[in-house]
């Protein structure tokens, strides 16, 4: 008896309604577009996520590795009812957010990865994700966890999320927090912002190509001296040693 195993392994996706793209002016004065991407665009995103897997600071490594896996799973049909939104400035990939539909009432927020830091880029992208769950998918609540202190400040504290500690989150099983429709309405207009429709030229630029981040992570200047941060204690010791060595050579 032959069995098409792929039919078993591949989850059956529900039809996910489109997220209407929006845009906003960020603190730098630049206009940022947030839009939904298709499966076909995932490989263009993965190449920019991969370098962040070696950035230990602020748990970028954990978040990037998981985002990579989730996006790859979406691309290769190993994740059910997932969606991916991206934030772009002049085509540049600035943030990736994703989540999943659990059922008609509940959404599962997966990750928010800011490839360009600061200026609330990640926060705007997260807000768009919540907008997708509440306004487009019609969810009553979204389950959320944070993997970094920054995420905790941005989601749990800024939105004042409710505890759903009895529900383990899909991201590693920690207790969940929830964004409810009431919390979402409170945030609408303050934390959840943006304008529609996106002007044609802006949207065309965003759709044209996913361009690489303008400030991607680079290998440390001195591999021996840099581990967690540029000026860590080990680095100090090594710099001292190097100076002593230089002095010896000069003599």
């Amino acid at each position: 008896m032959s069995v098409d195993l792929e039919k078993i392994l591949r989850p059956i996706d529900h039809e996910m309604p489109p997220f209407p793209p929006k845009y906003m002016t960020i603190a730098s004065g630049e206009e940022m577009v947030i839009r939904q991407v298709t499966r076909d665009e995932i490989p263009d995103i993965l190449i920019h996520v991969a370098p962040l897997m070696s950035v230990e600071r602020d748990f970028y490594d954990v978040v990037a590795a998981r985002v990579y896996a989730e996006l790859l799973a979406y691309y290769r049909h190993r994740m059910q009812d997932e969606y991916v939104l991206v934030a772009q400035i002049d085509g540049e990939l600035c943030a990736v957010v994703n989540g999943r539909r659990v059922d008609g009432d509940t959404g599962m927020s997966l990750h928010t990865l800011a490839l360009r830091r600061g200026l609330r880029i990640g926060a705007h992208a997260f807000a768009a994700k919540m907008e997708y769950h509440m306004d487009i998918l019609g969810h009553k609540e979204v389950l959320i966890v944070a993997e970094s202190p920054i995420g905790f400040r941005r989601w749990m504290i800024e939105y004042n999320l409710e505890k759903r500690f009895e529900i383990p989150h899909e991201l590693g099983g920690p207790p969940s927090y929830a964004l409810t429709s009431e919390i979402f309405e409170r945030a609408r207009g303050t934390l959840v912002i943006g304008r529609r429709p996106v002007p044609d030229a802006l949207l065309e630029k965003a759709m044209e190509a996913i361009l690489p981040p303008s400030d991607p992570p680079t290998p440390p200047e001195d591999l021996l001296a840099a581990t967690r941060s540029k000026y860590d204690p080990t680095g100090t010791a090594l710099i001292l040693q190097r100076w002593m060595q230089q002095e010896k050579e000069e003599k």
Binding site: S28, G29, P149, I193
Partner: protein, 391 residues
Amino acid sequence: MRDVYAIGIGITSFTRLEFPLSEIAAYPVMMALKDAGIKEIDHLYVANMGGARVNHQTGLASAVVDTLSLTPAGAEVIENGPASGASAIKQGFLAVASGMHDVVAVTGAERMREVNSIEATEFVATLTHPLAEYIYGVTLPSLAGMFTRAYMEKYGVTSRHLAMVAVKNQNNALLNEFAHIHQAITVEGILDSPEALTNNPFIADPLRFFDCCPVSDGGASVILATREVAEKTGRPLVRLAGIGQATDTHCVHEREEPTDLLAVRRAAAQSFKMAGVGPLDVGVAELHDAFTILEIVESEEVGFFKKGEGHLALERGETQIGGKIPINPSGGLKGRGHPVGATGVAQAYEIVLQLRGEAGKRQVADPKIGFTCNFGGFGNNVVCLTFAREN
């Protein structure tokens, strides 16, 4: 008194630093010693405000001097709130000028991001009056907010002027590799766009997010020495020519005129008098812009502009790097960051760098006199320093 020279400088990145406070204090000393080309000092002054409270570390100076293998040099901590840095430099000056020591190191360090921003704000608020201010929930942003509102009413300063200070200083910080904030911002993005209120929310009305300095970790160091030692370094001679310090009422509400910063005015005047120069001789200044309004007001109180006209000079671009009196080319507290105990020393670092002509892309054109204003409390303990290039 003997003349005193800044012969070496060092700094760490101002950001979140994931290593002990004693390391943050020690690293810039090492850089400053290297810069000065010396290996020994007579004494170490460590400026720090929150080690005991925030980092559970006391006896910081002993830890730093040993970390640097500089024992048996004497070492002690100087605490004077956010003006600790300039106060420590003042102590270093006195030690050399008096003839007690020939070479002293001054380092300022703070590790504030070990706690969250709410706790960090609360920690800084402990410098307010315990019975008349602190117990009622006063914080430095709240005092600055009230001060700003009063200043706006009286002198016509607007939110746009505040935003212009923020934009100027954050753009300057882009030229400073050690600065905390490396983000270009525009007045449109933080004030005019439909999303400006989200990008730049109110913190203490009328002050908004981009009107307030970040909470930073960081350290900075200056080595002070006699002329004899300074000449041996072969580096440009930068003399610490003037020091002024003044206090004001602990409670802000007890001040006769709430829009005056008398301690700034008096400390600056003392510093200029001692240096034998006037405010209009200054070629570059680092002012304590913990909140954007303070840069404007301090620029008036120290005498660069008439009272109530600092914002007009800002409009004319006079405080830009290429302007008549460049203020905060380093990015100031707003852009470089504000690890409270380190700030006064970081200001001195920038001025020495500028006077030497070594400030790279943010170099001001040929300054001969540099000035710093380190603002403790809410203007209740201020230390001003005047530096002069001699060759």
